[in-house]
């Protein structure tokens, strides 16, 4: 009989619950694709709304401050990491690229803040997507 305090047994339970729950894969993907969607599909309306607002405000405030949206690149390490961070915003990133938003402006100091806002919006969205996954597998209420 499995010991409930055994870490291996706990890991096994998580793996089983991940395999058994269909939302375990869909929720984080939805949450990455659009901020808060991973929580909305699990009926966590208020949490989803707050997460959506936080990420959207950061992303669009960053664009409004003339921040830069990174493209795929093999340049400096910071540029590559910036691209990875931006990609965390999901649909917002592709929308910004399609609309050619986020050209950046090196003449404004605040534009550099905007660039960081956009990267952090992506990173926070990834954290929110992981949270949606934890809710789906029952690790979090």
């Amino acid at each position: 009989m499995a010991n409930p305090q055994n870490p291996a047994a706990a890991r096994q339970r998580i793996v089983e619950s991940e395999a058994s729950h269909p939302l375990a894969k869909i929720a984080p993907l939805a949450g990455w694709f659009f901020p808060g969607l991973g929580h909305f599909i699990q009926r966590r309306w208020i949490r989803g709304l707050l997460l959506m607002l936080a990420v959207l405000i950061l992303f669009f405030a960053g664009l409004g401050m003339q921040g830069k949206v990174y493209q795929f690149n093999t340049g400096s390490l910071l540029d590559m990491l910036g691209f990875v961070g931006d990609l965390g915003s999901g649909l917002l990133y592709f929308l910004a690229r399609a609309m050619e938003w986020g050209g950046g402006n090196i003449h404004r100091a605040v534009a550099d803040y905007g660039t960081k806002y956009i990267v952090v919006a992506g990173l926070l969205n990834v954290i929110a997507a992981v949270d949606a996954h934890h809710i789906a597998i029952g690790k979090k209420p």
């Binding site: 990420v55 003339q66 605040v110 803040y113």
Partner: protein, 60 residues
């Protein structure tokens, strides 16, 4: 579309959004979420003020 913010207001907006996400994702109950979010916000905003005074002291 351009958005004008002072440096301090930009830091406060950043703190508000980041604290919201941290609070919701790092705690389990609504009460704990609010408390942790408020704690993170105070640390962000307080950190900005402390860093500002440190820079002022270094300059003078």
């Amino acid at each position: 579309m351009t958005f004008e913010l002072s440096h301090y207001n930009a830091a406060l907006l950043f703190a508000l959004c980041a604290s919201t996400v941290f609070g919701i994702t790092q705690r389990n109950t609504p009460k704990d979420m609010f408390r942790y979010g408020a704690y993170c916000f105070v640390l962000f905003a307080g950190g900005v003020i402390v860093a500002s005074w440190l820079m002022w002291l270094i300059k003078h």
